[in-house]
Structures are given as structure tokens and as C-alpha cells.
Symmetry: C2
Subunit: 234 residues, 2 copies
DNA sequence: TAGTGGTCTAGACCACCTG
DNA sequence: AGGTGGTCTAGACCACTAG
């Protein structure tokens, strides 16, 4: 009791986790406030705050001013998916990267890009070990990224050019399974209707649309990542 | 300048972001250390630390002791995918939830569960508005979760029972697009070979396997989430 | 309105790492 | 060896919100 056993926020976090797992603090239970915990753990309140905030970020605790800190009823799992540059993703897997531009046109942007100004439409295929890896079907808003109009995108992909040129503040991303269209199947060297993994992404700089992209991966592609309290960052 | 314009860590974070976007601090650039920034912003170093750590978590900065803080060369995007309980996911979309147990057997666990002890194999279908929504094909490790053997899982799904009973510390998760097998197609009321979104998940309590599950979603399912510096938490 | 978490401060010590 | 980020402290004030 009131022993100064827990000197750093990670130790405190581990102890809190232990009590949750041991059902000392069951789901829905309101745990002691930060002042009391700080006294029990023999540390400053700021240290307790950091430990609890980290657990709240992980979804295991729900915190509200005045109401206190409760153990989440349904500990929502959270998986952080990293979205690397395609060339890096391929090279990190030890495969040889190649890039092939398919089409490049300037036309009126489709609805998602704001429906107003002109857009640059680029389609390309990224290869890994000479096999098609992913199709990049992209619209770039030429109103917000006018420099894109001068880029040929025949050597450097729009994917790679944009990350070092057009920073974004927000984005939406979605994952789905879809049947390959005839054109996609041809580019990916597979059969029409084959299940393919599709990522749709749109990014903004504040409220200005920058680009929308559909990435259609060759069959067999998987996204893999870790979850859980062991992966807590910050 | 040394003006005390930035009083809280979020304002500092915004200012740092502005300088990165404005190319004042281009990719690869080493930014001033925390002491200098604190003086410039007219605040305590801890406040600068919080702002920079938040940006480092978001992948925009790379920090190392002694080396300092650099702007990331390839600002890796990170999307946080939440993994809710299936019943909640359906009800949150305003649809009616229903659950149907298909099979329940005790047998020797397959390889992923440790290959040693007995396992409980449960397959079930979750419905939304009376349409099949997702197939849950699960193995539960009866060595680590013996209580599962006494659960019928005919009313409450294993998915829901486990989150409030068997906490995990770590997990792996992967997403893929696959063709529906004959059995999956039948349960999902679709055609064999139809592209379906599949989630494979395995969870451990430290190094003890708890459960593996394959979730096969009905055609049309999408995972959707946001990305970017606007979604920074903590 | 009072209790709780959110944050800031000024200072200090430490762990890590580069040069 | 020395500079940098990582963290802790003790105290303070503020913002939010439940009762």
C-alpha cells in the first residue's frame, strides 16, 4: 500500500493493465482518480496521467472530466496500418521494383475532386520482380497542384512524386474486395472477375482536394499488421 | 522573434506542421532542438516535447537522442482501423442484428493455435437486417480459455463473449480479397468464387495463444477510415 | 458548482547515441 | 564526451461536465 514501487509511466500502465485483466477493475468499473493513484503509486499525477492517457488512446479506458476514468465495456481493438510508398513497399520485401506508365491525360475531374477545375488522370502499373504488383489509377487536382501538369510521370510515379511535393492534412481511405475488371485483369495478368484487393484513397490539404487514387493489387496481396496493448505507442 | 505566441502544444504542432508544409523545413531537414524551440515559442520544453512527440507518432518526424529531430523523408501515412464487436458494428449502422450458430466442435487445434492442446471450433453467421453479413470461423484455445468449453455460443457469439472474458495483450491481423468457397458462398447467399473481404486475426495473452478467427464478409463490405495529421490523437 | 481530467511550468536527472 | 530527447516532479490553473 502506498509503496513507491512504480517509478515510470510504463510500469504504471502495466500495473493498470494487470488489474484490468485480473478483473480487479472489471469492464465498466470507474477506477480511482489520478490524485489517488499518484499517491498509491508514489509518483506525480502527471506520470499517472501519461499512463492512463496512453491506455485511453488504445481504447481500453474511457476518460471524461468530472465523470472520471472507466474501464471500457467493449475494448475496441485498433490496428494501425502503415501506408508506404509503393516502391519502398516492394523494395522492403527484397523484390526488384519497376514502373510503367499506361496513360496520362488532362480532363475534367470526376465528382470526388470537386467537380470544378481540370484534373490530371494518370494510370500506371508498379511491378515487383517483373510481375505486375498494383495498378495506380489516379486523379490529381491541377488547381491545387498545378506543378503536376509539367510532370511526365514516365519515370517517377505520381505516388512517389506527390509524397515529396504535395503534403496533405487529411485523408480518407477504404479497403475492399472486388472482381477485377477486364482492363484490370489484363494489366495484372490475371482473369476477369478474379478477386482483387482495392484501396481507395482521397487526400486534402485542409478543404482543398489534392488527389484521389485507386490502387488495385494483384491477387494474393495481403495487408498485415499487429494489434494490442503491446503495440502501444506514446 | 522569441514572441510568446504559442501557448499550447496543439498550436505549436500546427506551427511546426505549417513550416514543414511551407518547405521552411524540407524533408530530411534537422529542426532546432527542443530547448531552442521552447525559447522561440515562449513556452516550456515539455510543451514542445509533447507537440513534437505527437508529430513523430504520426510519422512526420523522426527523433533520435543526440541526433535530433528530422523531418521524415517519406512521410508514411498511418491509418488506424478500429475493430469493433460485430454486433456493435451492425447496430451502429442502424441495422438489425441477428446471430446464427452453424457448428460447434471440440477437436485438436490446427497449427496456428500451438498444435498442442484441444481447441473449440465454432462457425457462425452474423446477420444484418436478415441478410448474412459476415461468417465467423473461429478456433479457441481450450488450454488458455477453458471456460469456453462450457459456453454454448448459440445466443451470444464467441466474438462477443471473448472480448469481455479473455483479454489479450498482442495480436496479428491481416486483410485480403479472396474468392468465396462453396460453403462460404452458400452461407453468404452468393455465388462461389465471388470476391469477398477476409480478415484473419490471431490474439495472444503474452505468449499464450487465445484464439484465431477468420471473418469472411458478404460482398460489398468496405473498411473505411481516415488518415492524416488532422486525426492525430494524443 | 464542485470534482475530474487536460495542460503548462521550471527545473532536474537520466538514457541514449553520435561524433 | 557531450548533446539530445525521454521522463519525472511539485505545483498551478484551466476546461469541461455530471449532479
Amino acid at each position: 500500500m502506498s509503496e513507491a514501487q512504480f517509478r515510470n509511466w510504463q510500469a504504471i500502465q502495466a500495473e493498470v493493465l494487470r488489474r484490468i485483466h485480473a478483473r480487479n477493475w472489471p469492464p465498466g468499473h470507474t477506477i480511482p482518480n489520478e490524485v489517488d493513484l499518484a499517491q498509491e503509486f508514489g509518483c506525480a499525477r502527471a506520470t499517472v496521467n501519461r499512463a492512463l492517457q496512453s491506455l485511453a488512446d488504445a481504447g481500453l479506458l474511457e476518460r471524461r472530466r468530472k465523470a472520471g476514468t472507466r474501464v471500457a465495456l467493449h475494448p475496441v481493438g485498433k490496428a494501425t496500418v502503415t501506408i508506404p510508398v509503393i516502391r519502398q513497399e516492394i523494395e522492403d520485401r527484397g523484390m526488384t521494383y519497376a514502373y510503367r506508365l499506361i496513360t496520362r491525360d488532362i480532363a475534367t475531374s470526376p465528382a470526388p475532386l470537386g467537380a470544378t477545375g481540370p484534373g490530371l488522370h494518370v494510370t500506371a502499373v508498379h511491378h515487383a520482380n517483373d510481375s505486375p504488383y498494383v495498378i495506380e489509377d489516379r486523379w490529381i487536382n491541377l488547381t491545387t497542384v498545378p506543378d503536376a501538369a509539367e510532370q511526365p510521370f514516365d519515370q517517377i510515379s505520381a505516388n512517389e512524386w506527390l509524397v515529396t511535393t504535395a503534403p496533405y492534412t487529411n485523408g480518407d481511405i477504404s479497403f475492399a474486395a472486388e472482381p477485377a475488371t477486364a482492363q484490370e485483369a489484363q494489366l495484372l495478368n490475371t482473369a476477369e472477375g478474379t478477386p482483387v484487393f482495392v484501396i481507395d484513397r482521397i487526400t486534402w490539404d485542409h478543404d482543398q482536394t489534392i488527389t484521389t487514387v485507386r490502387l488495385t493489387y494483384a491477387p494474393g496481396y495481403r495487408i498485415h499488421t499487429g494489434i494490442g496493448t503491446g503495440a502501444i505507442a506514446s
